[in-house]
Amino acid sequence: MNKNICVLEDSEEILELIQMVLEQDYNVHGFPTVSEFMTGHPETGPDLFLLDVMLPDGNGIEVCNTLKNNEASKHIPVIIMTANANMERMKGLCSADDFISKPFDIDDLISRIDVQVHH
């Protein structure tokens, strides 16, 4: 059975691309806003969270911290996607399992996701 990946990304195009890339191996659940993500992602089941940082109603760093502070979800790997050049600063702000910078290479994205999911 395919693993579940929840993606938080406000760019329709990027979300669509990610779905196109991952849909062979994963069930991809896309959310364009933080509010939709927080209410829509399944409590149990997701095998990975892929989060953008700058979102219309919030940011991925805060979402990551919420997930990691939650007993139910703290074990689920989180990958942060960011256009921010200052990756080191990002790493200091949250305890995500991995970071990937935009624009990303789709093969790099797939391999990072595979690493986290099959860890």
């Binding site: 760019s11 669509e16 219309p56 256009a83 935009k102 624009p103 990303f104």
Partner: protein
Amino acid sequence: MYRPTRLENTDLLNILCLHAEHPVAVYTGEEIRIELANPAMLAAWGKSGSVVGLTLSEALPEISNQPFVGMLQEVWNTGVDNIGKAIAAELIVDGKLQLYYFDYSYIAVKDAQGTVYAIYHTAKDVTREVLDQKELQVAREREELLEREQTMNEELAAANEELHATNEELYITQESLNALNQELETRVAMRTEALSHSESRLRYLLSDAPVAIAVFQGRELIIESANNEVLEAWGKSEDIIGLPLHIAVPELIGQEFLQILDNVYASGEAYYGNEMKALLEQQGKIEEVYFNFVYKPLRDDSEKVNGIMITASIVTEQVLSRNKIQLLNEELLAINEELNKSQELLLASNLDLKASENRLTDILSNLHAPVVVLTGSEHIVSTVNQALLKFWNRTKEEVLNRPMLEVFPELKNQVFPSLWKEVLEKGSMLQKREQKVIFKNKVTGEDRVVYVDYFYQPMTDLSGSIIAVLATVLDVTEKVRSRKIVEEAEAKLRLAIESSELGTWFIDAESNVLTASERLKEIFGFYSDEEMPLEAALEQITPEFRETVTRELHEALTTGGNIDMEYSIKGYRDGDIRWVRSTGKLYHGDIFTKANFSGTVQDITRKKLEEQRKDDFLSIASHELKTPITTLKGSLQLLNRYRDNMQHPMVIKLIDHANTSVTKITGLIDDLLNTTRTKEGQLHLNYKSFNLYEMLETCCSHIRMREKYRLILQGSKDIFIEADEARIEQVVVNFVNNAVKYAPDQREIHISVEKTEGKVQVSVKDFGPGIPADKIPYIFDRYYRADYSGVQYSGLGLGLYISAEIIKKHRGEIGVNSELGAGSTFWFTLPVQKV
């Protein structure tokens, strides 16, 4: 012949005696029995005829103490007649004891054998004559004495006056007084001697004589007589007469007088005392009394000393006066001596001074400090040294012995002449720092402004009169100039600090006390006039910085490092968050200043916000750019996978994504380029005349195509303006895009155009949530976005900034009216014609 009858002896005696005019008496026997007394004698005795037959002593008991019986008995026994004149006799006549004087003769009547058988006594009462004569004598003597006294008094008065007049005269007066005393003594002595020859005179003179006279009897000095003067001098009454001197005047015991008297008695030599001091009782008190006196021995007929007469005159006043004079003299002498000494010292000082004057001139001329001596009211340059001549730029010949104001007439209207005058007249010492002096160049006549520190002091001559001003004048022009330069620099710095609105601070390195400028207090949210201790200032630093700032400040204070920190503070009273940059440096103290740590604080809130916006902008720009690039990159990577199968249904979609992404990227790049151009002043406008209404009608096709929104255009359709049409359209599109972006739920967007007085105004009204009033001032700033936290509204936030720059370039105005909950109206105005 008649032959007369011979008279009997008895008849004859009766005739002779009984009818005699003068008193006659006949006595017989050694007991002097009255045989006969004629009526005249009986009358003189104040007795009746019954006394005949009685002894004389029985008849006249009052004469028992008088010498007469004795005298008669002597005649009876010796047979020698006793004839005398004016003998005094006290007789009781008419019941009273009275004094009479008689010329008398006691004749011895002898028988044939020469034996006395009777004494024939005749007497003549000469009382009247004697008394008259005595009165005459006394009157004459009194007159003489008075005259002498008068003369003496006058002389004394004159002498006293002179005594008090001058010192030297006092000496002379004293001498003449001595002479007078001498004379007086001599006279008194002479007089005493003369008196001593005459018992009767003595008796008279004794009582009222103006000199003290007393007679002592025997070696035990029984006071036989003492006149008033003596009694007065002794402070005693007549009661003492008859007493030995040492009992009458006991206070003399222990004084030398008794001894002297005894010596006189023993030796028979007179003693002359001069101004001898006696301690005598005067009105109940023992007082010092001075006498000139003579102790003269009195001798009996056998030349044996049997008494002493003293004559004395009291010279207490003279002595006291003279003692006073003596004292005065002594004082005067002492003063004279001192004066002499002073004079000697003065003489020595004079010599010293003379030497000093020469030395002064020497010293002054060698002094490095410029010095001049200005003598007299003309302020004549009497001494001046090389240092001052150099400062004056004058030679010695040009100034020496000339009045200052003649040498430097330009000083006349300056403060100096009055200062010299004050020193001369009041002896003041005057000094002032950095007094401005204007000299005239002696050649060109140009003003030469210099600054001096002066010190004026009075110089006195030997008598202490101020004769000159000693002036020390230091040229401090360079110092003043340097300081003025520093002051100007400080003023400029202060101006710079003020205009830059820098707060300044100063911490005393020892006490850690903070001194803050008004501006600094304002920055920290304090009133400019209230205290702001260091602790209070540190308290205003926001918690995330407080510890760091405090630590760094402490380290810099102790180790001497510099500080340069940026941190945020919360205003003490307003509570506003402000960003500040604080720089400071530790200045090590020297002899002039204390070690201190000082620096500035700048309010960098605006800059910080700008930076923040810039950071945010970069973050947003990065996001905005990278999002389409990510899409583009991903699309191209996937297309690459389908390169051998271009018919795959995904291929078209991927190419669309790529195209959209490139369009977005292009738009973003255009914005950035426009911003850059605007910033660099390279925004070029292509002016042309166009119909504004028509432009508004056709713009924003991308919005019109979206069915969700309705653009409603109102206003005059025939407004032509001269402007860059493309740029103006860009502004309108930006307004409309913002309306769509920020009021996504509203359907209508109103565009209006109107023309007023050479201007047109275009407004775009939305019905969105409106803009908070505090944000309105910033919305046309570069990088400003209504929302920083996320990317709710896409775009770089450069739209309004670029719009504002375009309108300003057209000399128009741009603005927004907004009300929370009621939407916003963005507007701009443009001149109809190109300006």
